[in-house]
């Protein structure tokens, strides 16, 4: 049998050495960098992390740089790609090439390749030190020509993600977070095309960001949305019922494959019974078995 303990220790040493030699909190890092601009787009971040439908995140800035990304430049846009709700390889590549052209229009040399084993675009440009303005242009060009929903759509086309199921899981997780933390984040509704209104996006982002993603992640785990966890969740649920003699209901699922309201209620009741003690014991027992 492979000595996993030894292999992990050795691999961890390799990481510590590699990263330790390379990453030092000095002039190359945040606190002492001459001037570094970090962009965190809440709506995009939420979309990428939790999924959200084929909406286009239009972000019109009020600063000067926004005007350099002009409309009507003849390049394929995110809206055009998403028009029929599907993203083809040709469209995805055209969008990525449009990002390069868009950057060129702002005087920034960049290239794109598709060598990534996951078949997503990788952009690069020579290191020029113009990080602040380049970041700004890059983000805007991405939004215009290869917005997050396009990346999601392409991931769906490649079978890396099931958007319909993603929507179902998003709604179920959202509801779970609201109930768990006792906060009304607003209404989350997907339209017929699978899109989210800006209000819905804000509601979803608020739930996702709440308490540093903790409730969202825990709900995803509890609801069995993480890979390989569904069967485990059902087995642990049955174990908790069996060992406590309680009837928490049934783990029932909706059309999307996500737990429906009754299923979520049953799961929360079982997982929260007597703290998490029965749940943790069952989880451990099933592993040992």
């Amino acid at each position: 049998m492979t000595d996993v303990e030894h292999l992990l220790e050795s691999a961890a040493d390799d990481v510590r050495t590699t990263v330790g030699d390379e990453v030092v909190a000095d002039s190359t890092s945040i606190p002492r960098r001459g001037r570094r601009r970090v962009l965190v787009r809440s709506s995009l971040a939420g979309l990428l992390a939790v999924g959200g439908g084929l909406t286009v995140a239009t972000m019109v800035g009020s600063d000067d740089s926004a005007t350099t990304i002009s409309s009507g430049d003849g390049l394929v846009t995110s809206e055009m790609i998403l028009q029929d709700g599907l993203v083809t390889e040709a469209e995805y590549r055209a969008g990525a090439e449009a990002v390069v052209s868009c950057l060129a229009g702002a005087g920034i040399e960049a290239t794109v390749d598709f060598d990534d084993p996951n078949r997503h675009a990788s952009f690069s440009r020579p290191s020029s030190g113009l990080a602040v303005e380049s970041d700004r242009h890059f983000e805007r060009c991405l939004d215009r020509h290869l917005a997050a929903p396009v990346s999601l759509g392409w991931a769906a086309a490649l079978g890396q993600i099931d958007l319909e199921r993603f929507h179902g899981e998003t709604i179920a997780t959202f509801d779970c977070v609201e109930q768990r933390v006792g906060v009304d984040f607003g209404e989350l509704v997907f339209d017929e095309a699978g899109g989210l209104s800006s209000d819905s996006q804000r509601a979803r982002d608020a739930a996702f960001e709440h308490d540093d993603h903790g409730p969202w992640m825990r709900c995803q785990d509890e609801l069995g949305f993480t890979a390989d966890s569904k069967a485990e969740t059902e087995a642990v649920f049955e174990c908790v019922e069996r060992t406590t003699g309680e009837d928490f209901g049934e783990l029932t699922y909706g059309a999307s494959g996500a737990l429906d309201d009754a299923g979520q209620q049953a799961l929360r009741a079982a997982a929260g019974h007597l703290g998490d003690v029965p749940w943790a014991l069952c989880l451990e027992q099933l592993t040992v078995d």
Partner: protein, 186 residues
């Protein structure tokens, strides 16, 4: 002497922007020493969980930026490092999130200049198998081995019981043993 740092956070059109410079107000007390101490381990954590040589530092930076913006609150925690590790562990195991970090890093920094070095072939194989594990199991392995966190600390970071951590650890190692044995047999 460390140069003072200024951070300005603004929000418009759904976009949150944090801007730092080397002039202006002093950083919140304690943040810089915290950052210096924790940066390496947190990048290592992001590296093995994301598998991205280009995106790992960006993922870690996102976590530290989030901590900085909440530093008044987080600095009062018993272990602010646990908070950053939780944020980064969660973000690094989100497929699309880490891809975006990678794309951003590539575009911003230029591919060749800022990639972390490659690990040995054997290490790469092991971490690739770790990333194939269910998310929680992968996080537990990375925190336990790369970060060197004891079980109780891993439980605090992931906000679960120590028993749950032990279970994830045991199950993860069983799976890894099976998969790595079959790799060896090839």
């Amino acid at each position: 002497m460390v140069a003072p740092m200024e951070v300005t956070v603004s929000q418009a059109d759904g976009e949150i922007t944090a801007e730092r410079s080397d002039s202006g107000a002093e950083p919140p007390e304690g943040y810089e020493s915290f950052y210096r101490r924790e940066l390496g381990p947190v990048v290592g954590l992001a590296y093995v969980l994301s598998g991205s040589r280009t995106g790992a530092e960006d993922l870690a930076q996102e976590g530290f930026l989030a901590a900085y913006r909440r530093w008044d609150r987080i600095s009062g925690y018993d272990d602010p490092g646990a908070w950053v590790r939780r944020v980064v562990a969660n973000r690094a195991t989100s497929l699309l999130r880490r891809r975006q970090a990678e794309v951003r890093a590539l575009a911003k920094l230029g591919r060749s200049a800022h990639q972390l070095p490659e690990l040995s072939t054997e290490s790469e194989l092991i971490w690739r198998e770790v990333r194939r594990l269910p998310r929680r199991q992968a996080q537990v392995i990375a925190l336990r081995y790369v970060d060197g966190s004891p079980i109780a600390q891993v439980a605090r970071i992931l906000e679960c019981s120590e028993n749950t951590v032990k279970t994830h650890l045991l199950r993860a190692k069983q799976t890894l043993a099976e998969r790595l044995s079959s790799e060896e047999g090839r």
